[in-house]
Symmetry: C2
Subunit: 446 residues, 2 copies
């Protein structure tokens, strides 16, 4: 994936000079999501935002109640009040669901661009796959995409990288949607770490996936695989402290990366690109060393054939990763592949560095060659997703300093006391998977 | 875990000068395992090695047949004939199960010391946990340990690091066994990545595990956690190529490491040591960066308290890792903790570098300071396991060169045509989890 011809390097002397494009943020869907984009015939059956008896905001769809409208959307709260809720809009910063407030929040963080994953339908449209009436699911999936591209992203040209969901249960429909989205300027789609968790064929079933891959290759559309979209997060037991799960979940995308690396699809479609969303980068050099070792050591009995390449070559050609700050990953950037690294903010989730991303990033980027900084902070993302913010916003207006100058009015006082119930643990106890599971299930009680 | 006072560095100018102690090898149990060590009262019910109708060697115990006597014990075969069998002794190199031949095989690999994990009872004694009659399980577990320490390891003083299994279902009995083993000079025990996979309480249940940890701390006994001893290996589906599983399985120990790192036991027992067996090392700097990030970022709501330390400090104080060659891990050795790294050979499994370990290692160790090389190749293992090979073998007779000089008679001609059935795949197809599962299940048919 070559970058365009190098421009003369620009001066990057402080966090203010960075140009930041995040490939992993999240939108909490607003209540009027389906009003404009869903055909009238389906409107009565669209997901609806209602209030339950307790006053929580919940989505209602096909007899199901989906209470976690903004799972972990805690940006702006005091850290003691982070958690896995909220369960209503009033518990969230407006930037979670209102695009104008979102732009303010991006500006105050000095962030030029953002790719926003969905919330209530699941990060890769699990809800549509689980919907029995596939005609309805198809209509709602496309209407969601239309809202995402034509309302959310289009509200501020140059500020968003659009990202679509696919009707994954039908490869022909999915391929059609890849092409339809591309015509709308959307060159990213969100798929699962493990499609068998959606009762779909694995990524090794070429006859199922080939139409989708062909469409992605034809349209130059990248496939985003977000952590946590497979068979749950890695938790040895319900006693596992939530910290351990937060620590280990990004790394677990290595299972999907390994599965794809030894699948045929990457070698059969050498311009197909997978993006490991929120997976971190510092583990990748080890992973590539080990991939090459395993190939060299075992291929004679396993039957794998990479021709004159090694697995690490294929990874660097076709896989893209992203990081928050990841000091060791940045140190090892040339072992990963400087053209494969992108940055993410993860707004509005609790793991995010918002609104201090530029200063946090500077700790690991200060002193690096400017062309490497620009590659990792925005140029790679621009190439991978065919995203050109500078068509709308000149580079000198796109820096951290320039954007923050427009956000003087944004209130950053930590929000306190608006959260839902904290996970119920006693004095001196820690939050475990059990409490988080209970909290999420408890949202159903209202 | 400080090393003893530094000696003047010795000269290490070639692979011949290395002194190699492996903390992860495997023994395939010989048929006469229980003959000497099991009390007469239990002998009739001991696991018995029998031949099935097909002529495979299988263990029979309490009505169960255990066919995979030497899972993946393929050392010495031509690589095209690696696989997940063998299912009989005649398909294996004698060094797998005969201690005299094992010493020859260690010598020809220039390997001074070896810690050998068990095969048919599972790597941490899963079989004993699954045995209904706990009095029988206890007797057999202890008899196995006696064979391991007094017959296998004691046959060649200075050449083996003994490793015990525990009656894990009863913490009092387990603690007693830790102390009994220590009196026999054994300061290592094998536990599960995830005890809930053995229907035991998680590592967060202090009231269950405290007697075991107290015994380990009192006796200076290290707890070895081998990969694959939890809830299976990471495979997105049965279509997953076996290569992907081989690639991803070591890294999956990060889930256990995260679970332990945020458990109370490490902080409550600051001299308790866990060894991540076969987990590799190159991912650890990323893991520690992320552990500290997660702690800093989330502890205010999760309730974790590391006092004046960070999670990475606790990891370096109490966790030990090991590697085959792992170039990036060696490059980052000071970020991991030079005193926490040990080496492994993994004989006789297919991932092993035997009999070329010294030359493979030299690729990553050449040019490093000799004291760092010695720390990683043997001195750390000596400290962690209270193992002193030099009491029996002077250092000058313990080098790769000296040991190989004693092994001129060892035949290294690749073994061909003795394997069991290869996994059944067609021309141009690759070996997948499904074929491996069928091959393992097929061993039951005979």
């Amino acid at each position: 994936m070559p970058n365009p011809p190098a421009r003369p390097p620009r001066w990057i002397g402080s966090p203010d000079d960075l140009i930041l494009v995040s490939v992993d943020d999240h939108v909490v869907e607003p209540p009027d999501l389906f009003e404009q984009t869903l055909a009238a015939a389906w409107k009565a059956r669209a997901p609806k935002l209602i209030q339950n008896k307790r006053g929580d905001d919940v989505w209602s769809f096909e007899g199901r109640v989906l209470p976690n409208i903004g799972l972990n959307a805690v940006a702006g709260r005091a850290p003691e009040e982070y958690g896995t809720e909220p369960t209503s809009y009033r518990q969230m910063r407006k930037g979670c669901y209102d695009v104008h407030a979102r732009i303010d929040d991006m500006n105050v963080n000095g962030q030029l661009g953002s790719m926003c994953f969905s919330s209530f339908p699941g990060l890769c449209g699990r809800l549509w796959c689980q919907t029995e009436d596939k005609a309805l699911a198809h209509a709602v999936c496309l209407a969601y995409n239309d809202w995402h591209v034509d309302a959310w992203c289009a509200a501020y040209p140059g500020r968003f990288i659009p990202l679509g969901m696919l009707p994954l249960w039908d490869p022909k429909l999915a391929a059609d949607e890849v092409r339809r989205l591309a015509r709308k300027g959307c060159h990213a789609v969100s798929l699962s770490e493990n499609p068998t968790s959606l009762a779909l064929p694995s990524y090794h079933d070429d006859s199922f996936w080939d139409p989708v891959w062909r469409a992605c290759v034809d349209e130059g559309t990248a496939v985003c695989i977000h952590i946590g979209t497979g068979k749950g997060i890695p938790t040895p037991s319900m006693d596992t402290p939530i910290d351990a799960a937060i620590l280990a979940t990004p790394l677990a995308i290595a299972n999907c990366a390994a599965d794809l690396l030894f699948a045929r699809c990457l070698r059969r479609w050498p311009s197909l690109t997978f993006v490991l969303s929120e997976g971190g980068i510092g583990w990748i050099p080890y992973f590539l060393d080990r991939a090459d070792y395993v190939y060299e050591h075992h291929h004679a009995w396993t039957g794998q054939d990479f021709g004159d390449q090694r697995p690490s070559d294929v990874f660097r050609r076709q896989m893209v990763s992203c990081f928050f700050e990841d000091p060791v990953g940045i140190e090892l950037r040339h072992k990963i592949g400087i053209e494969t690294i992108t940055w993410e903010c993860d707004y509005p989730h609790s793991d995010s560095t918002w609104p201090h991303a530029p200063e946090r990033l500077w700790r690991v980027l200060e002193g690096l060659p400017p062309d490497e900084v620009d590659a990792m902070t925005h140029r790679n993302a621009m190439r991978v997703f065919q995203y050109d913010p500078f068509a709308a916003i000149p580079p000198e207006q796109a820096t951290v300093g320039a954007l923050r100058a427009r956000a003087k009015h944004v209130d950053l006082t930590p929000i306190r006391g608006v959260g839902g119930k904290p996970p119920g643990v006693g004095e001196g106890e820690v939050v475990r998977m059990l409490q988080v599971a209970k909290q999420l299930a408890g949202a159903l009680d209202g």
